[in-house]
Symmetry: C2
Subunit: 191 residues, 2 copies
């Protein structure tokens, strides 16, 4: 990708100057903070009037976590499509089908190129479990506008994705309140 600073849009739109080098950012690892750091970028970027869209995988489509409430109020679209997949899910075909459908939506949004930041939350699982081909993801990322940042979160980021990414952070669990004291996830902090 070449730098996007030249702003060659005929109508001189500001959007093609603000993002200089669209990055592929991956937040992975077993620790906390992968989705949360993506939300932090959204918070920052909203403060700078970036056009942002978040797609959530896996989580229940109707989830009304803190981030959904905040995003609704701020007019940031969060598109969820999932059935709350866990190790106990009974209908894995359905889980997989939803992930594939969601990825097709993401591809359209990335190709359209209207967003400055696209977040694919918990998307690594779809690759890890083989529902979505990593090669297809890498191709899509490579063909995106060079002024678009894409943030992908989740454990088990495949090596091919890491190879294609610009910024990769592993969130490593050092200490967890559930393991230490039996304290469960809480509103406002973890969802």
């Amino acid at each position: 990708m070449s730098g996007g600073e030249s702003g060659e849009e005929p109508d001189g739109l500001v959007k093609y100057r603000r993002v200089r080098n669209g990055l592929v950012i991956v937040n992975t690892g077993e620790g906390k903070g992968k989705t949360t750091a993506a939300l932090g970028v959204i918070f920052r970027a909203w403060g700078r009037d970036f056009r942002i869209r978040m797609f959530q995988f896996i989580k229940h489509t109707g989830a009304r976590f803190g981030e959904h409430r905040a995003a609704d109020r701020l007019g940031i679209p969060i598109d969820g499509l999932g059935d709350g997949f866990t190790w106990l899910s009974k209908d894995m075909d359905r889980t997989a089908a939803l992930a594939v459908e969601q990825w097709e939506r993401c591809k359209r949004t990335i190709a359209e190129g209207d967003e400055e930041i696209v977040v694919l939350d918990e998307f690594t699982y779809a690759m890890h479990y083989g529902w979505v081909e990593v090669g297809d993801v890498v191709d899509t990322l490579k063909r995106r506008p060079d002024t678009m940042h894409v943030i992908i979160t989740g454990r088990y980021a495949p090596q091919e994705l890491i190879d294609c990414a610009d910024l990769v952070t592993e969130m490593k669990l050092i200490k967890h309140p559930y393991e230490e004291k039996g304290i469960r996830a809480q509103q406002g902090i973890e969802f």
Copy 2:
């Protein structure tokens, strides 16, 4: 700390029921996403109408990063006090004095107990460089209301702080665009 679920406030204020177990959360390590994940918690928590206050250390008092712009619009107080300390700072006494002053402010806010989430951003450096005593910090955290979450970010979190924390995550750098491609920090993503 005992659980705060009982809501013993005479006037039945909701605030003492929402946070069940106030956590001390530490985001540390060399990687990206420490402050960003704290901002993500702020985003979530704002979506649930939590009372939030953020104190920033080190960063220039007048910084107008994406997070400041967003927080201003949303009415979330971010109190900065710092002179942009780097390894090249000439007046370390001033940097240290500002950190001590900022910590005194934090202590007052923590003791007052009105907030549900208090973020001490880049505060670890103040302890690491010996400007603020870790013992004083741990005492302050232990004496806080048990329904208050405190989030501390920055590299070099001292062991005594980690021992007292509930949730500790190390952000580990796997790949960085500056090192890989010479791409510098960008608006909306990193500030």
